[in-house]
């Protein structure tokens, strides 16, 4: 399989959902999208971030199911959806967008030009939505690229990624884990400084000095961050694939 990656950058004010990502760097979105026809597609997206921001996003989708989908100036479609999961800091939504009557989305342009069976993956963080299109053949990538970049309305800009062999699947599932900024900073700083290398390149004291926090605070934050990652990793593929929960009652 082949892949084509690219980003769509949003100016502030260009799209309300992307504005939320721009305003809250801790908010991340990770989706799988499947075009069904040139005018319909479904998506499953996981949002991770601060509770109040997720509340806003949930509300927005309730009010306008096709919120933020269109990349053209005008966009009209029917959007329906459902919440698959909602915890304090995570929201997983299923969306079905159909009857696109005016305008386009990345998914509809893909559905129009690319061979059946195309799958898209997207990651939203800050002001950019990165896309990864998985293709059985890249024969029509050129037309897809030209049509999509021609459709982007004012305030949206195209960023080129690459075209190549498809490489892996959701390897970075963990990087869409959201955590409070202080923990994130602690984790990144420690990693970059070589704290997690064998042998450690740096001590906690040195990192704490750098960040200008007490050692105990740094230690606490790193531990909280680590717990978050471990719990997500161990939980991945847990009971979801097991026996029918209904049968457990018998």
């Amino acid at each position: 399989m082949r892949e084509f990656t690219f980003g769509v950058e949003y100016d502030r004010g260009a799209d309300p959902v992307m504005d939320a990502f721009d305003a809250h760097t801790a908010l991340v979105g990770h989706s799988i999208d499947a075009p069904l026809t040139a005018r319909s597609f479904w998506r499953i997206e996981r949002f991770a971030g601060p509770q109040s921001v997720l509340d806003d996003i949930e509300l927005r989708y309730e009010r306008d199911g096709a919120a933020g989908e269109g990349v053209t100036g005008q966009f009209e479609a029917t959007g329906r959806g459902d919440v698959l999961e909602r915890t304090a800091e995570e929201l997983v939504r299923y969306s079905y967008v159909s009857d696109v009557s005016v305008g386009e989305t990345v998914q509809t342009v893909a559905g129009k030009h690319l061979a059946d069976g195309v799958v898209l993956e997207s990651r939203r963080r800050d002001a950019t939505r990165w896309w990864r299109v998985l293709l059985r053949s890249d024969a029509r990538v050129g037309v897809f690229y030209d049509d999509l970049s021609a459709r982007l309305r004012d305030g949206l800009a195209f960023r080129m990624g690459h075209v190549g062999d498809a490489n892996g699947w959701q390897r970075d599932a963990l990087s869409s884990v959201s955590m409070p900024e202080a923990q994130e900073v602690a984790l990144r700083t420690a990693t970059e400084a070589g704290y997690y290398e064998t042998p450690r390149r740096v001590t906690l004291d040195e990192i704490a000095d750098d960040l200008d926090v007490p050692r105990s605070t740094l230690s606490y934050r790193l531990r909280r961050a680590e717990i978050r990652l471990v719990e997500r990793y161990v939980d991945a593929g847990g009971d979801r694939w097991g026996d029918d929960p209904m049968s457990a009652r018998n």
Binding site: Q74, R140, G142, Y145, D147, S149, R159, M160
Partner: protein, 296 residues
Amino acid sequence: MTDRTGAPLVSAGWVVDHLEEFQRDDPSLRLIEVDIDPQNYEEGHIPGATAVDWREDLQDSTVFDVPARPSFEHLLGEHGVTADSTVVLYGDMMNWFAAYAYWLLAYYGHGDVRLLDGGRDVWTDRDAPLTKAVPSFEERSYDAASTRESIRADRPDVEAALDGDVTLVDVRTPAEYRGEILAPPGWNEGVQRGGHIPGAINVPWSNVVDDVGLFKARSNLREIYESAGVDSDSETITYCRIGERSALTWFVLYELLGYDDVQNYYGSWVEWGNTVGAPIERGQRVNVRTDDVDGE
């Protein structure tokens, strides 16, 4: 303006009214579909339309150039076209290749050629009649007039334009214009260097149509180009990667807005960006407006 008897743009309604004539084996009126994806024609086309394949028919296969005169004459003849035919063109992707075919016909001096506003997409959106039947018309003899070099620019023309007061319009995506993308994905149109011709302004080709695919109102189009610094009294050269999409912009400026002096640069960036020593500018050009517009 092209010397012709009718308007350069026709509506879907007009085509519907002439459907019977298009289906007759009569060279006076011919309908030709030019798609970027030839499969579209096979899936259904306007009754009476024949298809031209841009890859095979609208470029010379040996030399990097527009089709040579004998091939072009043969192509048109095969489609039942004579020098007196009114030829109506349409296609997919906002008429991208249909507009290029229009420019080629104009370049070869054809008298009456028109473009269907909105192309394939507007026709299918409106559930207008479609058929899979491929018509077969009697082959005719086509004699092209002399070429109109006044609507075509080549590299020496562009080089000369650098010193003068000529407006260069780059219709590619902003990322290609700025030089961030050298090899547009999916096309064998990569270059040695990225950027744009010095002094060129960027007005992407798709700015001329609305989200439904129809050309914007002329007043709207005039505003778009004038505010970008493209005036009706300047000499203008349009270009893109090879010179196909820039033909759509050429059509708007020359045929719809009636600008006197507009040339399309065939070869465009694929030639310029691969030419040793050709000057290049990168990044975003800031347009300095010489006069303040009231209220802005």
